[in-house]
């Protein structure tokens, strides 16, 4: 029994590893896009900082800048994951990849998990580019007060976004439209997901304290800046984060299973 379980686990892990490998190759198959990202990220950052100036914000303190950096990074993470999955699933539908995945008996969840994990490479690139842009634009070195907790929080954020994006992809399949859904979701989800620091407003602190989606992102900011933003002990925040990730994983599994059954029974293996 134990041997069988280990064999099954090995098969699943090797499939995820294969999908991961495929995802990484796909991401780096267009070097121009990666270069464009490196160039455009600081430009967007400059645009939004200049816009704050347009609203009359004349001075930003060092703490404000550090907080703004993590806001920018969290927003980039949400956009990268949502756009990556939203566009990706539509492209796979058009290219017929999904049809092969579904017809070949491969689980959609395995497919998405491996592909999503490949996005970690993008996540780290995002972090490097945004941190470098801040250092250059504002002459502000990026703080990492608790590196181990920071690395843990990045892992938690990744898992949270992975399962959220899988659920979101099922929504895209259902509505057959990626960018409309993404445009709306990428504004709503970050607000509930801890994007805005609690330091700026009491109401935001309440959202971050009671929204289950917020803990991993808040933890990321807290570990980098060495603060406790929502007045909950860090071990409890870690525990809450793990619980919400398990809940999201179960929800992702459920939505993927139901979508797969629907697509197979209606004969829409390639979405169309």
């Amino acid at each position: 029994m134990v041997g069988l379980r280990e064999t099954c686990l090995r098969v699943v892990l090797s499939r995820i590893a294969l999908e991961f490998q495929r995802g990484v190759r796909l991401l780096f198959s267009k070097p121009a896009e990666n270069i464009a990202f490196v160039i455009s990220a600081p430009l967007w950052l400059a645009f939004f900082i200049l816009t704050l100036r347009g609203y009359g914000v004349v001075r930003l303190s060092q703490t404000d800048l550090q907080l703004f950096l993590w806001v920018a990074y969290a927003f980039t993470l949400y956009s990268t994951w949502l756009w990556g999955f939203g566009h990706g699933i539509m492209d796979e539908g058009y290219d017929g990849v999904l049809e092969y995945v579904l017809a070949g008996g491969e689980g959609l969840l395995t497919h998405f998990t491996g592909w999503g994990l490949a996005l970690i490479t993008y996540e780290l690139m995002d972090l490097a580019v945004i941190a470098a842009s801040f250092t250059v634009l504002f002459n502000t070195p990026v703080m990492f007060i608790n590196p181990i907790l920071f690395a843990t929080s990045i892992l938690l954020v990744t898992l949270e976004l992975l399962f959220t994006s899988v659920i979101y992809s099922m929504l895209v399949i259902r509505l057959r439209s990626n960018w409309v859904v993404t445009n709306i979701v990428q504004f709503i989800l970050p607000t509930l997901g801890g994007l805005i620091p609690g330091e700026v407003n009491g109401y935001v602190r309440l959202i971050n304290r009671y929204s289950p989606l917020a803990y991993p992102v808040v933890l990321m900011r807290e570990s980098a800046l060495g603060i406790n933003e929502i007045n909950i002990p860090l071990p409890m925040q870690l525990l809450y984060s793990v619980v919400i990730i398990i809940a999201l994983a179960l929800l992702a599994w459920l939505t993927v299973t139901l979508t797969t059954i629907r697509l197979r029974s209606s004969g829409q293996l390639g979405l169309y």
Binding site: L50, R53, G54, F187
Partner: protein, 258 residues
């Protein structure tokens, strides 16, 4: 071909383009919501540092509207060429007796109409909320300014189309162009904070001219000399686009679509 035939052809291309856009009504909703989401989001952020007044919001809202419709317009020509090439239709289009300029102009006019309509519908509640009925009356002439202002941006897009046909990765180029032009728009921040040479570049671009002229009208402070700059930009950038695209089309006619 008689004038009536030209007009009927023009109308047919426009209708076709309109049908393509109407296939995704959610996209039109986003056009209306986006300025609220972005201008509102930034106002929310700014409100933690300073007091944001209704006038500040109007200024930024119109600024974001200008940036949004400008970016769409800049991408229109280049994306059309790129999509037609990817779909294998560009060669057929070039080979038909109908001039590509007619096709490009008809499709762009549809996009201009959609953009201006979105600007009008999205701005109505905000302008009415701050200025009342007089604000709505002032909004009317700004539609003309927007129409004129989108023409040079289409010209820039046509010039970009020349680069696009030589590239495989259009998205990458467009990402950089969009980010760069958004920063250089001068529509969401005071440009005096920029270095002098960047300031000069911003003033020479149509987004700033369009924004300042439209804002002056909405605020009731009248138009400035920038309206002449906008007229000059319309001629200059459209000429640049037509000239650049003309060269590219000649190359394609000689060597085929690569």
């Amino acid at each position: 071909m008689r004038l009536r035939d030209w007009l009927s052809l023009f109308w047919a291309i426009m209708l076709n383009e309109l049908r393509i856009i109407a296939r995704e009504p959610g996209g039109l909703v986003i056009l209306l919501l986006m300025p609220y989401l972005v201008a509102g989001g930034m106002a929310f952020m700014a409100s933690f540092f300073t007091r944001v007044s209704g006038i500040d919001f109007i200024r930024e809202f119109i600024g974001f509207e200008v940036v949004m419709v400008s970016m769409i317009m800049v991408q229109t020509g280049a994306r059309f060429i790129s999509e037609e090439r990817s779909g294998g239709r560009l060669e057929h289009l070039i080979a038909t007796p109908v001039s590509m300029y007619i096709i490009l102009f008809a499709t762009s006019i549809v996009m201009v109409i959609v953009n201006i309509s979105a600007y009008l519908v999205a701005s109505l509640p905000v302008i009415y909320g701050v200025f009342g009925v007089i604000g709505l009356l002032r909004l009317i002439p700004t539609l003309v300014i927007m129409f004129i202002g989108l023409m040079p941006l289409y010209g820039i897009g046509l010039a970009l189309a020349g680069v696009v046909v030589r590239l495989r990765d259009v998205d990458a180029l467009m990402n950089v162009v969009t980010a760069l032009l958004s920063v250089l728009s001068g529509a969401t921040y005071p440009i005096y904070i920029l270095p002098k040479w960047v300031d000069a570049v911003v003033v020479a671009l149509p987004m700033y001219q369009m924004y300042q002229t439209a804002l002056g009208i909405v605020m009731g402070s009248g138009v400035t000399g920038l309206i002449y700059g906008l007229a000059a930009s319309t001629v200059a950038y459209l000429a640049l686009g037509v000239f650049t695209y003309g060269r590219v089309e000649r190359d394609m006619l000689k060597g085929g679509v690569k």
